[in-house]
Amino acid sequence: MHRYIIKRILMLIPVIVGVSLLVFVMMDMAPGTVVDIIGGEMSTEELAELNHQLGYDRSVFYRYFLYMKDLLHGDLGTSFIYKMDVWDLYMQRLPATLELAGASVLLAILLSIPLGIKAATGHGGLTDNVSMVAALLGLSMPNFWLGMMLIVLFSNRLGWLPSYGATDGIKSLILPALTIGTGLMATLTRTTRSSMLDVLRADYLRTARSKGVPEKKVVSKHALKNALIPIITIIGTQLGNAVGGAVVTENVFAWPGVGRLIIDAINQRDTTTVTGCIIMTTVMICVIMMVVDIIYAFVDPRLRAQYASGKTRKRAPKVRGGEAA
């Protein structure tokens, strides 16, 4: 397992180098630089001076080189917009993002897995049909639209829940978590169902039944554990996405998360902030995926054996069911 984790971390390095280069180059291609944002009414000379200070008179690769040199020392750089270390900026936003990601994923897990199982075991029945239609609807709803409609209904018309920000504890978490959670729930229900359906036809379930294992236990013990791998994969991916910042939802709810920070930073050409946050996101996703892999190992002894031999998982287990955008 140790070897596996080390390998995983080593594999992260080229991705970080590549991602940060990509961000630098792309941000450089976008019209304007951070100097244009902060240099609102400056004179040509002042702009030139600022350009020089921030390295914008040199090529993008030079700036990238400088950035990477700092990164080697663990320094994510300084934001020229917020006049803060990017690390501090990120850490200011991370709790809200994690809160939202955790809440929505938890919501999805609590609702979707039982529902997906119910749909699969009662395949073709009422629960199945209703939940599949609902899931498809959930999957098809643009979540910013859903968010706006929820705000209009629950905070404006009914006045039950706050409409913005992360100020009111659980209460302010409900609507945004529901907004992100809907898509998640839809995907997860579909995944659970199809994964369960695949497993429910497996020979070993017949074996279990022929042993006289009660149907409930056949589903909850024998089938579920086998169906879990794709479910965990989806949860991991979704959690990863959410940790990267549910950009649009955060925007709708003025949620102080990482996604909104990155968008603001992109709009203000704050390259260091964008790069730093995306690097951190990559790291976070890597950590999540590592945890997911470790959970895999608990669930599936075959994968455990694979890790023990130090091999990384070749591919994510095949996942069916639509992905949320």
């Binding site: 020979d203 074996t207 042993k211 006289g212 554990k225 075959r302």
Partner: protein, 342 residues
């Protein structure tokens, strides 16, 4: 072919399995597969019935029906009754069924590769059955599981290992251990050796015979390998397109074959003593199980068939108390198949 000799018939009153007029359909959206059509089987204690037939003849469906484990939908038992040790399998509550499955009857499935749950250790899977039926503690169940494992020839230390750590033959032994864990009265073995290579086949067969002696189990042995049947079975039933077309003691069926299909089966076996001899496979294919004819389903392939064979329903004909054949050719008292003439 090995020598056929009559086995001592143990005449025991208690019937372990009694199937009467069982019919099983798979009802798909736009068609119905008639998998099992009106079959009856009776099996006494400690007897082994060989259920023989081509793929798709309805053998596995029959076995699953006995456990009332047909995949539903689409599988439905249309009519008939099944009694195992006096229990009406088709009218039991779910709970009673669960008690019988694995306890009184258990089944060995065809493919050991997929029959074991990959995410639980073999010990867990054996002990589960014991725990359920013998009402014992978890530790006792595991002890028993270890014994079972040893019984089927796997070192007890491997009890904590997972299916993927075993070879195919070993897995089949585990499956057998699971099936035998609770000393079932009836064991349904669905081609337990097909997936294994020949040397291992022999081992497994030997083991099963030993175990049968030990536990006094009655057995339905599903196979299409007549050699195996000859070796271990007491009785034979030959299935074709969902019907039992010939049924009798091993001796009766092997030595005085009556049905043209059974004859065809024997003819298509290679003759070890005469390597030069030509093989005589049965011509044609199994009929579409969704469109079975009124009469004999084998008629299109039957060398003796007459036009009315295919249109008139067949009647059962008994040649002895135990030997029954489903072929209208015997309406003509002079009719003999070639094998018998030889």
């Amino acid at each position: 072919m090995s020598e056929i000799r009559p086995k001592d018939t143990v005449n025991d009153d208690s019937t372990v399995l009694d199937i009467q007029n069982l019919t099983v359909y798979y009802e798909l959206e736009d068609e119905t597969v008639k998998a099992v059509n009106d079959i009856s089987i009776k099996l006494g204690k400690k007897r082994i019935l060989g259920l023989v037939g081509e793929t798709g003849a309805g053998k596995t469906s029959t076995a699953l029906a006995i456990l009332n484990l047909l995949p539903n939908p689409p599988g439905v038992i249309k009519s008939g009754s099944i009694h195992v040790c006096g229990n009406d399998m088709l009218n039991l509550s779910q709970k009673e069924l669960e008690e019988i499955r694995g306890g009184t009857v258990s089944m060995i499935f065809q493919d050991p590769m997929t029959s074991l749950n990959p995410v639980y250790s073999v010990g867990d899977q054996i002990a589960e059955s014991i725990e359920l039926h013998e009402k014992c503690s978890r530790a006792e169940a595991w002890d028993k599981a270890e014994e079972m494992l040893e019984l089927v020839g796997i070192p007890r230390e491997r009890i904590h290992e997972y299916p993927h750590q075993f070879s195919g033959g070993m897995k089949q032994r585990v499956v057998i251990a699971i099936a035998l864990a609770c000393n079932p009265k009836l064991l349904l073995a669905d081609e337990p050796t097909t997936a294994l290579d020949v040397t291992i086949q022999a081992q497994v067969l030997d083991m099963m015979c030993d175990l049968k002696q030990k536990f006094d189990t009655a057995m339905i042995f599903i196979t299409h390998d007549l050699g195996i049947v000859a070796e271990i079975c007491d009785e034979v039933a030959v299935m074709y397109a969902g019907r039992i077309i010939e049924q009798g003691t091993l001796e009766e069926v092997f030595n005085s074959t009556k049905h043209p299909y059974t004859e065809g089966l024997f003819n298509s076996l290679p003759d070890i003593e005469n390597r030069e001899a030509e093989l005589h496979p049965i011509q044609g294919m199994m009929p579409d199980p969704t469109k079975l004819p009124e009469g004999c389903a084998f008629a299109p392939r039957c060398p003796y068939a007459r036009p009315e064979c295919i249109s008139t329903p067949q009647t059962e004909r008994s040649f002895s108390e135990t030997h029954k054949v489903l072929c209208s050719a015997y309406d003509d008292p002079s009719f003999r198949i070639k094998r018998e003439e030889r």
